[in-house]
């Protein structure tokens, strides 16, 4: 579980995050949503320690991450996996070497054991057999899946995903979402996803934190978002006529007035 308490971050005189608090539970997909420039990436960077907040605290299972010594922070970081927006795969290494990298660095396993683990996670992200390819030879969706495999290879307690669907087509986005959701449930990971992909919000958002101009504007579940009266949230999520109709449809489904026949597993099936 990750708890964020009254986080504030300024760059020069510009306040980018102001008094944001949130509680993100294990085994759930916790989404941070908001328009570009709303501060969600900065919030995530503060949470993982890439930026230091000016004020406030971040707790990992009750331990204050912001005031920890660097050695203790390193121990927490070893429990963190992160999927970056641009995948951040090491260009000079093959897929196999990329995924094996954390295992080489932090485990004493034999090469055989490490290879077995690499193949298992590659199979888990539906990419068996691409071991010897270089990142430059992969499509955007494949790179994301390799990056996801690398992020979970050490069985992290916390998984951070920064815009996992950016630059991907809707169907590949659904595949990535489903993978993240399944891994979260399977390993009871505290997953934090930074996104402005509305499909993700509606499909995997167990907890949603909506940021507006650096402040927490709204929080709730994907079911609650349907019934939310927050105008800014509704303007952001249901920006088009089509999405507003979809919202009305979902409201009817949720209230049982029409049957819900959609299933994410079916939608992502090739």
């Amino acid at each position: 579980m990750i708890e964020v308490k009254n986080i504030q971050k300024k760059f020069d005189d510009k306040v980018v995050i102001e008094e944001v608090s949130a509680r993100m539970e294990a085994g759930r997909c916790n989404l941070i949503i908001g328009a570009s420039g709303s501060g969600k990436t900065v919030l995530m960077k503060c949470m993982v320690g890439l930026l230091n907040p000016d004020q406030g605290s971040i707790f990992y299972n009750g331990n204050n991450f912001t005031t920890m010594e660097s050695e203790a922070k390193t121990l927490i970081r070893k429990e963190i996996g992160m999927l970056f927006q641009g995948s951040a795969l090491f260009d000079s290494l093959t897929v196999e070497e990329n995924i094996m990298f954390p295992l080489n660095m932090f485990t004493q396993d034999t090469t055989g054991e490490k290879l077995k683990r690499v193949n298992a996670v590659l199979e888990r992200v539906n990419l068996a057999g691409v071991n010897k390819k270089y990142p430059a030879e992969l499509s955007g969706g494949m790179k994301k899946r390799v990056a996801l495999a690398r992020a979970v290879v050490l069985n992290p307690k916390y998984l951070f995903c920064d815009e996992p669907n950016s630059g991907l087509d809707p169907q590949t986005s659904l595949v990535i979402d489903k993978l993240i959701r399944d891994l979260t449930l399977e390993y009871q990971i505290t997953t934090v996803i930074n996104t402005h992909d509305m499909n993700s919000v509606m499909e995997i958002g167990d907890y949603i934190l909506y940021m507006y101009q650096g402040k927490k504007e709204w929080e709730g579940t994907r079911k609650e978002i349907i019934f939310s009266k927050n105008q800014r949230l509704n303007d952001f999520i249901f920006a088009s006529e089509f999405l507003r109709d979809a919202k009305d449809m979902r409201m009817l489904e949720e209230t049982g007035k029409i049957p819900n026949e959609r299933d994410m597993d079916q939608m992502t099936r090739p």
Binding site: T74, R77, A88, D91, N104, M105
Partner: protein, 245 residues
């Protein structure tokens, strides 16, 4: 102020490199990779430059030594001392600042911009230790070796050019090479090469590691790294010559 801030950040970067290694084997592997890239990767250009510099030195020295009172073997002595004292350590390191330095800056810059450095940080790896230290150590191991090779090749190039142009016979050149040789000159050249290799690896690492922006900034950082390294190498050359000769 910017200069002082940069110097401060540079020193903090150097200090940050000396942390406990997570896995010695991985660092050793990275060091070997860097040794291969910096050492063998630069061997070709070092060979070409050294041979030609030695050859040109012989021809130009012969051109200027017109007095019949000066023995012809003096050409070899002058070529030997010029190559050992200046051309091999300084010129080779200036060229390496361009070759290896720009590679270091652009590699780290690209890793920074594509969030690969952030990815390593998130894994709990000290990126300064893992990415910068092996580059500096590799440079300090390989560049003095390249300088020694450059010395030998420069003198050989001079001998070859002198013989080919009919300026000096091989026997006379060898005789000149042996006379009044000061081993201290080699020590001085190696001292310079250690200082220069520290400059040409740490300065580009600094500019690459702290780059911000995109591809354009990587190019700018790389160019700046090479220019600053070259200026500092020449400045250090002057200081070391004034202090040690």
């Amino acid at each position: 102020m910017t200069l002082l801030a940069d110097i401060g950040r540079f020193l903090i970067m150097l200090k940050g490199m000396f942390k406990k290694l997570e896995n010695r084997q991985m660092y050793w592997k990275e060091l070997m990779r860097q040794c291969t890239e910096i050492g063998f990767g630069s061997l070709g250009i070092v060979t070409i430059i050294s041979v030609f510099i030695g050859a040109v030195s012989t021809i130009q020295t012969a051109y200027q030594l017109v007095s019949p009172l000066i023995p012809i073997s003096t050409i070899a002595q002058i070529v030997r001392d010029t190559v050992i004292l200046e051309f091999a350590p300084t010129l080779v390191c200036v060229v390496l600042a361009g070759v290896a330095g720009s590679r270091i800056a652009s590699e780290l810059g690209n890793m920074r911009v594509s969030e690969q450095i952030d990815a390593l940080e998130i894994m709990g790896i000290n990126t300064k230790t893992y990415l910068i230290l092996p580059k500096i150590v590799a440079a300090m191991l390989m560049i003095p070796l390249l300088v020694i090779i450059a010395m030998a090749l420069g003198i050989w190039g001079g001998r070859l050019a002198g013989t080919a142009a009919g300026i000096i016979s091989p026997n006379l050149f060898d005789k000149g090479l042996m006379s009044d040789f000061l081993p201290y000159n080699v020590f001085f050249a190696l001292t310079k090469s250690y200082v220069f290799s520290l400059i040409l690896s740490s300065i580009p690492a600094f500019y690459g590691y702290y780059v911000q922006g995109g591809a354009l900034e990587i190019g700018k950082a790389s160019t700046k790294a090479v220019v600053v390294s070259c200026v500092l190498i020449l400045f250090a050359d002057y200081i070391l010559s004034a202090l040690l000769l």
